[in-house]
Amino acid sequence: MRRQAWRVAALVWLCLAGARWHGTLAQARDAFTVREVAPGVFVHFGRMLALDVPGHDDIANIGFIVGSKCVAVIDTGGSSSVGRALRAAIARRTRVPVCYVVNTHVHVDHVLGNIAFKPDRPRFVGHVRLAAAMLRSRAFFLRQYAGDLDQPPSADQLIAPDTPVERELELDLGDRRLRLRAWPIAHTDCDLTVLDEQSGTLWTGDLLFRERLPALDGSASGWLSVIGELGQWNVRRTVPGHGALTGDLGAALSAERRYLLALIDGVRAELERGASMQQAIQRVATAEEPNWLLWDSTHPRNVARLYQQMEWQSDPTN
């Protein structure tokens, strides 16, 4: 009976703690902050959380760029409510209309807020492969992230691009031009970067992760070559998909490059010695662990994915 009483007490405590937690989150949402990192360039920095915990809809760096005639939104967050918070933040800063909503890739934390901008009737802009990628993810989003959509969740809340970028596209915001670049398969198969020439600000989407471990959903070797090319770019500041703003793009890319190289080399070595996927997960690139956040929720998936890709590549072993 005494044990029973403890259980009840624990339950009550957890209820209260849960309610407080919920309250804190609600406050965080009210205090949705954007930082003006350059004149007319506003960033809301996402939180370092896994994708399956409360607050997971606010983990990506999202924001907007203001021209004299148009605002371009760059990524919209992982829920309709984060999207609306971003829209409200824009309205507090400017009366210039939102003409463009740009998505840097298909992942849930970057696209689910699109629905919030539907009333603005913007052009939705993305990689030429983004629409297909969203179609592929539709069932997964509706099942796994239903709670992040407006209720009841429905497929028409998932807004795909109407303006595809095959390789490059310029958006004119009025006295301000954005240069969009669609990349070959890297982090995903639909990565897109946005460069604001006026301020020298590059938005990499998830081609650049800082602090948070990069998640591989495309091709590790493809990602490395994109990193190689981005590393040549001369920009004043970079807004990564996750993590802090940086003035040193090259250094930020080299940390990511180091991890991806360790991942590729590690998986190749494990395959060559006939190791199982579990053994690979335990051994590959473990020296990198201290350098990154959210290792446990991302690294095993990266290894599993790369292992499955590489085991069918042509190679000399057996």
Partner: protein
């Protein structure tokens, strides 16, 4: 005492307790306390903050549901009322990550200890909450010295995963584990799609004691949707895998849609594996694929050929 067995069922009450124990592997391992109440409460309290938050929690609802129906039925069908031992990890163990790195290709190992090697007749893997719970049933040749058998499986939602082995003297052993995952059976083809249907690749470990057999095959579950057309992709899966050497069957398995895309079978022995080792695969459209592993390169060939680790009584 190599194993402790749950008491044989002799009356109705015993059957209920046993079933409950079987439903929940954690309970079965701590028989001192009354098993029925502990687990659901623990799950409920652990998940409460998430429930209060009201965010997306597809796996959580299912955690409340006992993962029972499928196993109750299958147990009856395959094993009747025979006792099933569940305790001694040194005899047999099941390795599967509680949080899968990939719901569509969750690696899973059944490992046998020294006392079990050479004394296993059959291993069956069951995923309670999958649309097709029976993943595979592998029969081992008499005396086959299998130390480990590894698969990659689809996990559709929060579930118990179990491996049940039958020994050559007719006793049963089960190990089970919880796996949290979502959507493994309906995930669209992705990680390493395409290739030549039926291509078979071998990866041996340096001492020839382990061999991973990879089969290039979509293993379409029938629950996948073509994202572009919106139509269901028809099931097309590997239904049978056989390993043999010198015309003698060593391992013979029935498989199904719960195996991942590009199914793999990993065999580990406590001795060098015999070579050449032939793999024969049959799929649900009566496709036949076959390949032989010729052993390790010249330097290691002697070791590979020296002993018939699998199958010699």
């Amino acid at each position: 005492m190599r194993r402790r067995l749950i008491a044989t069922v002799s009356n109705g009450k015993g059957a209920i307790i046993m079933l409950r124990r079987l439903l929940s592997p954690r309970l079965a391992r701590s028989p001192r306390r009354p098993p029925v109440m502990r687990h659901p409460i623990r799950v409920a309290t652990a998940l409460l903050p998430l429930l209060l938050y009201g965010g997306p929690s597809p796996a959580i609802d299912e955690a409340q549901t006992p993962a029972s129906g499928a196993w109750e039925y299958l147990r009856q069908q395959f094993y009747g009322t025979r006792a099933i031992g569940v305790l001694d990890e040194s005899f047999m163990s099941l390795e599967v990550a509680a949080n899968t790195p990939d719901p569509a290709a969750t690696p899973l190992n059944v490992r046998f200890g020294a006392a079990a090697i050479g004394h296993i007749r059959q291993v069956r893997v069951i995923i309670d909450n999958n649309p097709s719970p029976v993943v595979s049933t592998f029969e081992f040749a008499r005396g086959a010295r299998v130390a480990e058998i590894g698969l990659r499986v689809r996990v559709d939602r929060f579930t118990s995963v179990r491996a049940i082995a039958e020994t050559t003297d007719g006793t049963l052993e089960m190990r089970s584990s919880w796996v949290n995952a979502s959507g493994g059976c309906s995930a669209p083809p992705s990680a390493a799609e395409g290739g030549q249907l039926g291509e078979i690749r071998f990866r041996a470990a340096g001492n020839a004691r382990s061999l991973q057999v990879g089969i290039r095959h979509p293993n379409n579950s029938g629950f996948q949707i073509d994202p572009v057309s919106g139509e269901a992709i028809a099931p097309h899966f590997v239904s049978h895998i056989r390993l043999s050497t010198a015309g003698r069957t060593l391992i013979d398995g029935d498989t199904g849609i719960s195996l991942s895309e590009n199914p793999t079978l990993r065999i580990v022995s406590d001795q060098a594996l015999p070579a050449p080792l032939t793999v024969d695969v049959i799929d649900s459209k009566d496709g036949h694929f076959s390949a032989s592993w010729q052993g390790l390169a010249a330097g290691h060939a002697a070791t590979a050929r020296a002993t018939g680790a699998l199958g010699d009584p």
